[in-house]
């Protein structure tokens, strides 16, 4: 089972194969829980969000389109959306140091080694962004903050936040050559 690709495991999950389901969860549980923990910063809520992520993956496995991205990316997007929905309030989630620490963590080789080079590439591209672009981007991507809320946090006009996020995404897109790996 360990030799099966994530796509194969997902297919097995969708088909009700118990061993595939176990292997699928084992493959991604640390990544999913790591993301939900980073966003929610509450152990109980993070586990609940991680469970909900896998349940949604199980229910919607048939909708996964490998042409649009990796299984890990698809699953983490679900985890991100579940976590944002569970955020109890729109408080500032973390100071810049904490955000940087979250993004500095390195994925373990056991869960998604296929994504490790991608992570390195993304990390390098993100680190190259100016701080004033990186922070609003992270607040929007990981915490789902609307632009006006980021503007309030950053104490800058909404238009400035929009410009910074757009510039950040454009630079990242250029650096990562979106479409090749996903």
């Amino acid at each position: 089972m360990a030799a099966l690709s994530p796509e194969s495991l997902l297919a097995g999950l969708a088909a009700g194969d118990e061993s595939a389901a176990d292997a699928f969860i084992a493959t991604f549980e640390a990544r999913v829980y790591g993301l939900t923990s980073s966003i929610l910063r509450d152990r109980v809520a993070a586990e609940e969000a991680a469970q909900e992520t896998f349940v949604r993956a199980w229910r919607h496995a048939a909708t996964f389109d490998p042409r649009r991205g990796s299984v890990a990316g698809w699953l983490l997007t679900i985890a991100r959306n579940v976590s944002i929905d569970m955020l109890p309030r729109r408080a500032v989630p973390a100071d810049p140091v904490e955000l940087a620490r979250m993004l500095d963590a390195t994925p373990s080789p056991a869960d998604g080694a296929q994504d490790a080079p991608v992570s390195d590439e993304v990390r390098a591209a993100l680190e190259d962004l100016p701080v004033e672009q990186r922070r609003p981007l992270v607040l929007a991507v990981f915490y789902g903050f609307p632009m006006r809320e980021i503007a309030r946090i950053e104490n800058v006009p909404v238009g400035t936040v929009k410009s910074r996020v757009r510039a950040a995404l454009t630079k990242l897109r250029s650096r990562m050559e979106v479409g090749d790996a996903w």
Partner: protein, 243 residues
């Protein structure tokens, strides 16, 4: 130009659409436009793919022991089982949806007052999750509520909270006779545990106490009047989360 907005409008909004953070009033016409404009749709998809790749930076953290088994148990059971179990007809204390909705509304109203911003596009889910999240901050599991019945009928309302600690709160109707009552809790295994003496009157229309047992074990909350008459809330709490 397609629909209510132009390509320039949508491209200006593209990062927010891709990140899922566009305001509802802007998102709806933009999504209509995207449905019929491949060029704008491709622009948004490109931004979204970039943003999604950032999620790969999330750290790996091993979940708590037993996570896999708990998750698998959710997968193999039909979704309907997650709903509260149906109980047979009962005159005892119930936690029907309408009361849970009331409790949730109260909690969410408080939360909104404290700065919570519900997501416009998922208010119902946010309502439930706010309820659940706020409960979890006190290690709570659920609320329940029951009418307090006296010799002459409804005499108030008793609220129960399963948490750490579990507690009950009672509000008394204005017509409830004044006096010092003995409060007690009756448990599922037949015990009667004292909750202390309670002065009830016009100046004291409510009362609360922590429970010496879990709310799930409570079957009655009783207030015994000085003349011996009983005012009782009968309890059969059901977890709104199916736990």
């Amino acid at each position: 130009m397609r629909g209510d907005v132009s390509c320039d409008d949508v491209r200006d909004l593209a990062p927010e659409l891709a990140l899922g953070v566009a305001d509802g009033h802007e998102r709806e016409p933009a999504l209509r436009h995207l449905a019929s404009c491949p060029a704008c749709s491709a622009t948004v998809a490109g931004y979204a793919a970039t943003a999604d790749r950032l999620l790969l930076l999330a750290p790996s953290i091993p979940p708590p022991a037993g996570f896999r088994a708990r998750t698998r148990s959710l997968m193999v059971e039909p979704p309907a089982r997650l709903a509260p179990a149906r109980r047979g007809p009962s005159t005892r204390w119930q936690a029907p949806a309408r009361w849970l909705a009331v409790a949730a509304a109260i909690i969410v109203a408080v939360a909104i007052g404290a700065g919570t911003t519900a997501r416009i596009t998922s208010q119902d889910r946010a309502l439930g999750r706010s309820y659940r999240s706020i409960l979890s901050q006190g290690n709570g599991a659920f609320f329940a509520v029951a009418p307090l019945q006296g010799p002459a009928g409804r005499a108030g309302t008793v609220w129960g909270y399963q948490g750490s600690p579990s507690w009950v709160f009672a509000s008394f109707a204005p017509g409830m006779p004044s006096g010092t009552y003995r409060a007690s809790v009756g448990t599922a295994d037949g015990r009667t545990l004292p909750l202390g003496d309670v002065w009830i009157g016009a100046s004291q229309p409510s009362w609360s106490a922590s429970l010496p047992v879990a709310l799930s074990e409570v079957r009655t909350i009783r207030f015994t009047a000085p003349d011996g008459s009983a005012f009782v809330a009968s309890v059969d709490p059901v977890s709104p989360w199916g736990t």
